[in-house]
């Protein structure tokens, strides 16, 4: 029995105008997007190797340990998944003079965008008249008059509609993947395919969720025109408004000092306040020394000092002690202020982290955000990857620092007279930064709560639809 209704639902959708339009639209948009993104990925690969070559050329003549830190920096390289998912745009680059404003004006289209915006809209377009439309046509009355149980009807509706919806998406995705596969430059490995399969699973959950929401709204209305109106309003709020508002709401609820303010504070602590402290400590220690070595109280010119030190070992000892005391005072001032700066920076970082976490949580009211985090984390293009990249580049930084120390020590052992910091050195044996995406296990683990959340939302909407439909007045 239930198979009959599912079949009717599937057939009803497949023969419908909106199905044809959806299929046509997706069959164009997805392959075009993948084609464009694939080419863009290849371009970025070229750009990356060009940059690498420039660095190598530079290093041939100017590989000095002193300034090399500015040249050799860990940079993320494009990953094959960029042919489908772009994630956080790296080009905005506000920290440098050069920035690319285009993605700020128009965010890029990628698979995540197509799923989150287009597919959710399509799901609601498919679902808005699932109940109210059948009521208007009188077919609902007819079906229920034939002794069909309501739970079966609603189950079949959600299952049939949701499954039909996935067909155009999967077809267009396959077409898009063909584009990727025929490109010799894009090399997808096993983990990439697994990640893609998981993203597709997430898409299925996401689409079903919106379909369930649509059926719920439909079973709360008695006319399909009112149903589409409500569906669109809910869609606008959930998909377009909540995610955009969430970081602002979070910054309101959990404020952080602005970075500029923190920088200023750190500067003050490390500059004027350190100088005050240093001077104070120096004066204190000098007072003790002056008591011990009265010679320090005399106002002497540097030349006189030098002469005195040569003549008188006691004076020499006094001046030596004074130098040490001064050094100690300033070291102490630097240490104390350094700790203060650390505390300020750590507090700010903690506040920022709290705010980011809050923003993330608030945004997860919207399934769009849940899916976005899930898909970008799975494809190593999101927040998790930024943290991961931070960690691996730290590891490399340390490795390079160790290498530099070791090399300098070796070179100085050979020839102590040369200033090895500022002399070109052959660094071809340096540790190189090779970026590889995080192992799949970690990514999947990170995406797990997202899956659960999507499933939970879907379940809630389905239960709501179920309950409303059981109470639905079919007259």
């Amino acid at each position: 029995m239930i198979a009959t209704i599912v079949k009717k639902e599937v057939l009803g959708h497949i023969l419908s105008f909106r199905f044809i339009v959806t299929l046509a639209l997706l069959l164009v948009v997805v392959p075009v997007t993948t084609f464009v993104l694939t080419n863009d990925y290849l371009k970025r690969i070229d750009d990356a190797s060009l940059r690498q070559a420039e660095i190598e050329t530079y290093l041939r003549s100017y590989a000095h340990f002193n300034r090399i830190g500015n040249i050799l920096q860990a940079t993320p390289t494009p990953i094959p998944f960029h042919a489908l998912v772009r994630g956080l745009a790296p080009d905005i680059n506000l920290g440098e003079f050069d920035n690319d404003p285009l993605p700020v004006m128009f965010p890029l289209v990628d698979l995540v965008f197509i799923v989150t915006i287009l597919m959710s809209l399509v799901a609601l377009i498919f679902a808005y008249d699932a109940v109210s439309g059948e009521k208007e046509d009188g077919t609902l009355k007819l079906a229920l008059a034939n002794g069909l149980a309501r739970p079966k009807v609603i189950l079949a509706k959600v299952a049939g509609g949701g499954l039909t919806l996935l067909v155009p998406f999967l077809l267009s995705l396959i077409l898009g993947l063909l584009v990727i596969l025929v490109h010799p430059g894009v090399d997808w490995k096993g983990p990439d395919w697994v990640a893609l399969a998981l993203v597709t699973l997430g898409t299925a959950l996401y689409v079903m969720l919106f379909y369930g929401l649509g059926v719920f709204i439909s079973s709360r209305h008695h006319s399909s025109s009112a149903s589409i109106m409500t569906s669109l309003l809910v869609w606008v709020l959930l998909v377009l408004v909540v995610p955009s508002l969430s970081p602002y709401i979070a910054s309101f609820l959990s404020p952080t000092p602005s970075r500029i303010q923190v920088d200023r504070e750190a500067e003050r602590l490390g500059d004027t306040e350190r100088d005050d402290l240093g001077r104070k400590l120096q004066a204190e220690r000098m007072r003790e020394l002056v008591a011990k070595y009265p010679v320090l109280n005399e106002r002497l010119s540097e030349a006189d000092k030098k002469r005195l030190m040569e003549r008188d070992p006691a004076a020499r000892e006094a001046f030596e002690a004074a130098r040490k005391a001064t050094q100690g005072a300033w070291d102490e001032a630097n240490r104390v202020q350094g700790e203060k700066i650390d505390t300020v920076r750590r507090a700010a970082a903690q506040q920022e982290e709290a705010q980011t976490g809050l923003a993330r949580t608030i945004s997860m009211v919207s399934p769009l955000s849940v899916f976005t985090y899930l898909a970008t984390d799975l494809s190593s293009t999101g927040l998790r990857n930024e943290a991961y990249f931070g960690r691996v580049s730290d590891v490399w930084d340390r490795a390079f620092w160790d290498y530099a120390q070791k090399r300098i020590a070796e070179l100085q052992a050979k020839d102590p007279a040369t200033d090895w910091w500022n002399t070109p050195v052959d660094m071809s044996d340096r540790p190189r930064f090779v970026y590889t995406a995080e192992a799949l296990g970690g990514r999947v683990e990170a995406a797990l709560p997202g899956f659960l959340l999507l499933f939970g939302y879907g379940l809630v909407f389905f239960v709501l639809a179920y309950v409303s439909f059981l109470k639905y007045d079919v007259r």
């Binding site: 000095h64 680059n93 440098e96 690319d100 508002l245 500029i260 980011t356 945004s363």
Partner: protein, 414 residues
């Protein structure tokens, strides 16, 4: 006669559930957006007061633009501080916060609300204009009188436009009036004029989508097919075409990545400094060559980037929505063109500062000229594209209306 129909349309809207829900939603969103963006602006203003250079400091900082409350655009990039150091520009205060969630979702400014939500609202007003009257039999009833079809269509258009535009303008002007009471936010008369233009442009944008909605409703028999088609067109126009256009343009125009550019600058800088340490040449000549090479890089990049921007603009203009975004951001002074002009000014300022420094014997000076960025005058902004974009948007609106007239004259009212 037309007026009778206009009044009927307004009355019908005033009596419908849809009208109140939709207008309430738009009003709430506009108000929320104003509130949030005002807060954002004030925070940036507070940051500005911290980094604001003291007299004589060689720092180029542009205060945040109050019009960024309406269209933030690239204002964050333009409100950074560009400090002219001994050898070149060092950029500070790029990002006011480390909250990465900002990077994921679009900024909910007035422009976004209008672009995305108001366009949808206008379509919802238009999509069933003809089919609903046909289903109710009122279309036949109207046409049985000495009412011409063009009268009906114009009346419908005007009636719905007014029912949409009037409450929207009321809410917006109320919001702006509240902003005007805030002592921290001061608009110059030029900015008030610009704001007026932005509002006018918004009306053109609404008119465009209303015409599109009516057009599709005259081409379809059923309201349900009309809304399906319209939602797909809407998604294409608002999201897909403008966003894909930029990527397509990148395929055609070769532009080095900004990272490549930044790396190049580092290389130039370290090379010259190392040469100096080795004792080749004097400092001023190294500074000069760093500056010259950086300027060459910037100039080269500008040329390529401008080509990219022009191409992507032209591709994006397939969708009049992109035209709207360009026109509004340029008029607000937060657009791509303004940012380019601003950066040019920063480079010029850097050269002036370096020139003064190099002219002094110890490469130091305590008095540098202050940096003051003057936004391009409105006339120039309009001539440089904003006017074209407005006309383009309006032309599409008129075209769609004309097409809907043609379709409606042939519409089978039986």
């Amino acid at each position: 006669m037309t007026w009778t129909i206009v009044r009927k349309e307004i009355l019908a809207n005033l009596l419908s559930y849809k009208f109140y829900v939709v207008i309430l939603l738009a009003a709430v969103l506009v108000a929320t957006s104003f509130f949030i963006m005002t807060r954002d602006y004030k925070e940036r203003l507070a940051d500005y007061s911290l980094i604001r250079p003291k007299p004589g400091e060689p720092i180029a900082v542009n205060p945040p633009n109050p019009l960024s409350i309406f269209a933030k655009g690239l204002d964050e990039a333009m409100a950074r501080s560009f400090e002219v150091g001994p050898t070149g520009i060092s950029v500070r205060a790029g990002q006011k916060s480390g909250n990465t969630v900002f990077a994921f979702f679009p900024t909910p400014d007035f422009l976004y609300i209008v672009r995305v939500v108001l366009s949808l609202v206008a379509l919802l007003f238009g999509f069933d204009q003809v089919s609903r009257e046909k289903e109710a039999g009122t279309l036949r009833q109207m046409l049985a009188n000495q009412t011409s079809r063009s009268t009906i269509l114009i009346g419908k258009w005007a009636g719905n436009f007014l029912s949409l535009a009037v409450p929207f303008l009321l809410v917006t002007t109320l919001g702006i009036a509240v902003l005007g009471l805030d002592p921290d936010i001061r608009f110059s008369s030029d900015q008030v004029l610009r704001l007026g233009l932005i509002l006018a442009l918004t009306l053109v944008y609404i008119a465009f989508f209303l015409s599109l909605g009516i057009l599709i409703s005259t081409l379809t028999r059923r309201a349900s097919s009309s809304i399906v088609i319209l939602l797909f067109i809407w998604a294409l126009l608002v999201f897909i075409l403008p966003n894909l256009g930029t990527l397509v343009a990148r395929q055609v125009v070769d532009v080095p990545s900004v990272r490549a550019l930044s790396e190049k600058r580092e290389q130039v800088w370290t090379r010259e400094i190392l040469l100096r340490i080795k004792g080749q040449g004097d400092m001023p000549s190294h500074i000069r060559s760093i500056s010259a090479e950086n300027d060459a890089l910037e100039a080269d990049y500008r040329v390529k980037f401008d080509r990219l921007v022009n191409l992507s603009k032209n591709i994006n203009r397939i969708s009049p929505v992109a035209s709207f975004v360009y026109a509004v951001t340029e008029i607000a002074g937060t657009g791509i063109g303004e940012e380019g002009a601003f950066k040019g000014e920063v480079v010029r300022y850097k050269n002036a500062v370096l020139g003064k420094r190099l002219a002094s014997p110890d490469l130091k000076s305590s008095e540098y000229p202050a940096f003051l960025y003057r936004y391009r005058p409105l006339g120039r902004v309009l001539v440089r594209g904003a006017l074209f974009d407005t006309a383009w948007l309006a032309a599409f609106g008129i075209l769609f209306f004309a097409l809907s007239y043609l379709a409606f004259v042939r519409y089978d009212v039986r």
